[in-house]
């Protein structure tokens, strides 16, 4: 870090977990002045009160339009500019759009000081998306497990099979019909529901 004071960074994100991950990353990198806002009411008033150098916001946040009003208040002393304004760095703009994050930078902050912050945001946003993805996959695997267990139970009861036999029956049916075992299990549940 240079001798200059750490820029004041505000994170506007409705996802508290992602915001926390981002804040942690920024602090680890030596940025000591970081504030998170997850409550969108009175957003502008809070930002004016905090007077940040950089505002980071996720692109899925409808409140981005609220920030645009800051450009219009001619009486405001410190006017922020959007990162997309500087089109000289197409690659980093593309990376930030892909990651789903945008930033507003208040006049006067040097470009070389902004770049590492933005790169870090993009990196952490992508890491969060990956984490979310894994979580979703684990969740749906768990769901599938439950469905298979219930279908097994139905087969055991109706056909007098052992647990092992019920599973083998579903697996061989799935292979024959070129379907996933979870889909076969789901059809058994649906059918048994209909035939109740």
């Amino acid at each position: 870090m240079s001798a200059e004071p750490s820029p004041k960074i505000v994170i506007v994100d409705e996802s508290p977990i992602r915001a926390a991950i981002l804040e942690e990353g920024l602090r680890e990198a030596g940025y000591t002045s970081v504030v998170r806002i997850s409550e969108m009411q009175s957003l502008l008033a809070r930002i004016y009160a905090l007077d940040p150098d950089i505002i980071v916001i996720d692109l899925e946040n409808p409140s981005r339009d609220i920030l645009e009003q800051m450009f219009q208040v001619s009486r405001a002393v410190r006017r922020p500019i959007a990162m997309f304004v500087d089109q000289s760095d197409a690659a980093s703009i593309q990376a930030s759009v892909d990651a789903g994050v945008s930033a507003y930078i208040v006049d006067g902050l040097k470009k070389e000081r902004i770049k590492p912050i933005l790169d870090l945001c993009v990196f952490r946003f992508n890491a969060f998306a990956k984490l979310q993805d894994e979580l979703d996959r684990t969740k749906s695997a768990l769901e599938e497990r439950k469905v298979i267990d219930r279908a097994k139970g139905i087969l055991m009861k109706l056909k007098g099979l052992t647990e092992e036999e019920a599973y083998v029956l579903m697996r061989s049916t799935a292979m024959r019909e070129k379907k996933k075992i979870g889909e076969i299990a789901q059809s058994i549940l649906t059918a048994s529901e209909l035939l109740k």
């Binding site: 969108m40 009411q41 009175s42 502008l44 692109l59 899925e60 946040n61 409808p62 409140s63 981005r64 339009d65 609220i66 920030l67 645009e68 009003q69 450009f71 219009q72 001619s74 959007a82 997309f84 304004v85 089109q87 197409a90 703009i93 593309q94 759009v97 945008s102």
Partner: protein, 387 residues
């Protein structure tokens, strides 16, 4: 050969032409393979159009002009070959403010001059009583909603920058903010006014068509550079959109259109709410009062789809009036040049539908003359910058 296109939109009823063009197969019939991308903010739509992630977009008419002038953001020359909607907004207020205005209104409560003067009296009384300023929300600094709210209240003597607070709020938050008391009123497009009424938290005070007989609302925006490189695709898109608006304007097709648009990946609200807007038959208060207007939202009839440079000039005049930019002949020419009736006519040939009457038709002030914006603005008592 098909041309792949990415088109961004915001879930609003005036995205109808784009949604129907795609979902009814009109775009495919023109050889276009369109991917519609639903967005959450106008900033996203603008940025993704600017950097080329979108080839075309459903955009606020003033944003297309602001982009071409480089106002508030990077300058990206933008063209409009097709106008997606005329009118379609409404001003909705809380039950408390509605009651206060109704208690003060003299004459016809649907006359915007009468309600604006009533608002001025409400504002004066509140000031005398030491109450906080009223807060009104709109959707974007460069929006018709911003200009329509300002035009209306200023006519009654309410200075939109001094006497009330004007804030930007994303449309999905409007009804909730009215309920919680964070805002006292707002101007927004469909279906959000109806949603506030249906939730019992708002009264529709005015249709935007009370304020302007004819106001360009959303446009099909394309980067100028892209349009110059892809004239065939632009023409094909215009033809597909025209077929869509012809379809939508047939009253017998409305139920199907509403059903298409109600899909979760399109607008994602009840089909009935969408149809109300298309039919111009709106519930204006929680007690079930219905108000009808044949001018509530025009998506194709009366030549609504043909871009009208006079409309662009009027919007530019509002930017000047409220100090978003200064008045210059060069900027005026740029603004008017954004709306391209030549692209519309060229794509459709003899089928191009021209407007019978293209006047803005504001409820007050002199007839708008694009060649004398300075004179036009000088006639208004409240304005930020003396032209």
């Amino acid at each position: 050969m098909t041309t792949p296109l990415h088109i961004g939109f915001i879930p609003l009823v005036d995205a109808a032409a784009i949604i129907v063009a795609v979902d009814k197969g009109f775009a495919a019939a023109e050889g276009l393979e369109v991917t519609l991308v639903r967005e959450v903010s106008w900033s996203n739509v603008r940025d993704k159009l600017n950097i080329g992630l979108f080839d075309a977009a459903h955009l606020l008419a003033p944003v297309a002009i602001a982009s071409s002038l480089g106002l508030g953001h990077v300058r990206v020359p933008t063209v409009v070959p097709f106008n997606l909607g005329i009118n379609g907004n409404a001003i909705t207020v809380s039950a408390a403010l509605h009651a206060a205005i109704m208690a003060e209104v003299e004459g016809d409560r649907f006359d915007p001059m009468a309600t604006a003067r009533a608002l001025a009296r409400v504002v004066a009384k509140r000031r005398k009583a030491g109450a906080e300023s009223l807060t009104f929300a709109m959707t974007f600094p460069f929006s018709t909603h911003n200009y329509q709210l300002r035009f209306w209240m200023a006519a009654g003597g309410v200075d939109p920058d001094e006497d009330v607070r004007l804030v930007v709020l994303p449309p999905p938050y409007m009804a909730e903010s009215l309920k919680s008391g964070h805002v006292d009123g707002f101007c927004v497009g469909a279906p959000w006014n109806s949603i506030a009424v249906d939730h019992g938290v708002g009264h529709i005070l005015h249709f935007a068509s009370d304020i302007l007989a004819r106001g360009a609302e959303k446009v099909l925006a394309i980067r100028q550079s892209w349009s110059e490189k892809n004239p065939q695709a632009v023409a094909a898109l215009v033809r597909a959109a025209q077929r869509a608006v012809d379809f939508i304007e047939q009253a017998s097709n409305r139920a199907e259109v509403a059903r298409l648009m109600a899909q979760p990946d399109r607008i994602g609200v009840d089909a009935e709410v969408i149809q109300r807007t298309l039919d111009g038959r709106l519930k204006i208060s929680p007690d079930g009062t219905i108000r009808e207007s044949s001018r509530y939202l025009l998506v194709g009839r009366e030549g609504a789809a043909r871009p009208d440079p006079v409309q662009a000039a009027w919007l530019y005049a509002q930017m000047v009036r409220w100090e978003q930019t200064s008045l210059s002949p060069a900027s005026l020419a740029t603004a008017m040049g954004v709306f391209r009736p030549d692209l519309y006519d060229g794509a459709l040939g003899p089928e191009a539908v021209k407007a019978i009457d293209s006047a803005v038709g504001a409820f007050t002030g002199p007839t708008f003359d694009p060649t004398d914006i300075g004179g036009y603005l000088a006639s208004f008592a409240i304005l930020r910058r003396q032209p």
